[in-house]
Symmetry: C3
Amino acid sequence: MTVQTLAQDTDFGRIYAEVQDFYARHFHLLDAGRAEEWARTYTEDGYFHPEVLDRPVQGHAALTEGVRRTHAELTAKGAQRRHWHGMVAVAPRDADTLDVRCYALVFETPRGGASALRMSCVCEDVLVRDGGDWKIRERKVTRDDMTPA
Amino acid sequence: MTVQTLAQDTDFGRIYAEVQDFYARHFHLLDAGRAEEWARTYTEDGYFHPEVLDRPVQGHAALTEGVRRTHAELTAKGAQRRHWHGMVAVAPRDADTLDVRCYALVFETPRGGASALRMSCVCEDVLVRDGGDWKIRERKVTRDDMTPA
Amino acid sequence: MTVQTLAQDTDFGRIYAEVQDFYARHFHLLDAGRAEEWARTYTEDGYFHPEVLDRPVQGHAALTEGVRRTHAELTAKGAQRRHWHGMVAVAPRDADTLDVRCYALVFETPRGGASALRMSCVCEDVLVRDGGDWKIRERKVTRDDMTPA
């Protein structure tokens, strides 16, 4: 990524807003444990690849299953997670494909307890237009505590 | 809320930016203790309803009074709060009415001390166009530490 | 700053998105220690003035040197910083000059350790159009722990 403008297109304002709005709805679903609806914010063959895993979690069934398991654990211990994306850099490849690089924070609040920052990450997505909305085709996430500084 | 596009309108980019800019100015006023100016970012009958209260705080006088009291307490103990909205999902009902759902964080920094996260919340607003700007007609806030996960 | 609309211009959506995208790329460079590229997101005579310094850090050479030193220290202790801007209020002076006021958070994660909030600040920028991109001409930053509340 070089620091050059990616924003000359007259549509950049709309596309950038759509990406932010997409991330908001995507994480509202995740943090509510709505696993299947969340999985459908990926393309059919879309994948989520945290660097800690040898292989990506790919496809709606696997993505759904992962979120169901995690959400059940969080519910059992009475904790609410909130995922935040920020510092979102959007580089359109073409009208229907975007490279996005952003930061991600995960906050967790136990019922009756104090909210805490759990994780700081970097997220690299490839978003593609699918009908009227964006979907995630590829997601790679690195954790700041596990990455050479 | 379903994950479908709310972003097809050609104005979506501008509206989404206006909402973010509005929240920025709204919280700059709040965190500076500019109570009356902050209250006027609500409609005349606009209300703020934290789930911990039986009834909403409604109208400019009541909103102003609440902020004055809180700001005096913070000033007395030498603390600076910063409110952050993020993961903002904007669903236009029509050209002049928006349903917004977003996350909210409150940070607090004592003079000479360490900044800390104090609270993680979910905020649901109804924003309406009022002259050239947006105003809050309805706000409901739930705290993650008090909500069933 | 008064709470009045600054968002009537039809270009406001695009400009607001460009500012957010600019800050994202600007901080990706900073947090990666890409000092020279980061310095070039300032104008030739651009400056960064943290209130704790008597004089601003001005010009590409001084800006580069400051980041190189800090990044070497962070690398030596195995820490990764992440700068977040948020609550961004954009007030266009004219088509090529923007006054921006926003909040800033700095998070730090030691390798193998827990992420933590290090600092909460307020940032006031003057951005100017330079070729196809925005650049920082003036930046003033106040830290919440050092500012009268």
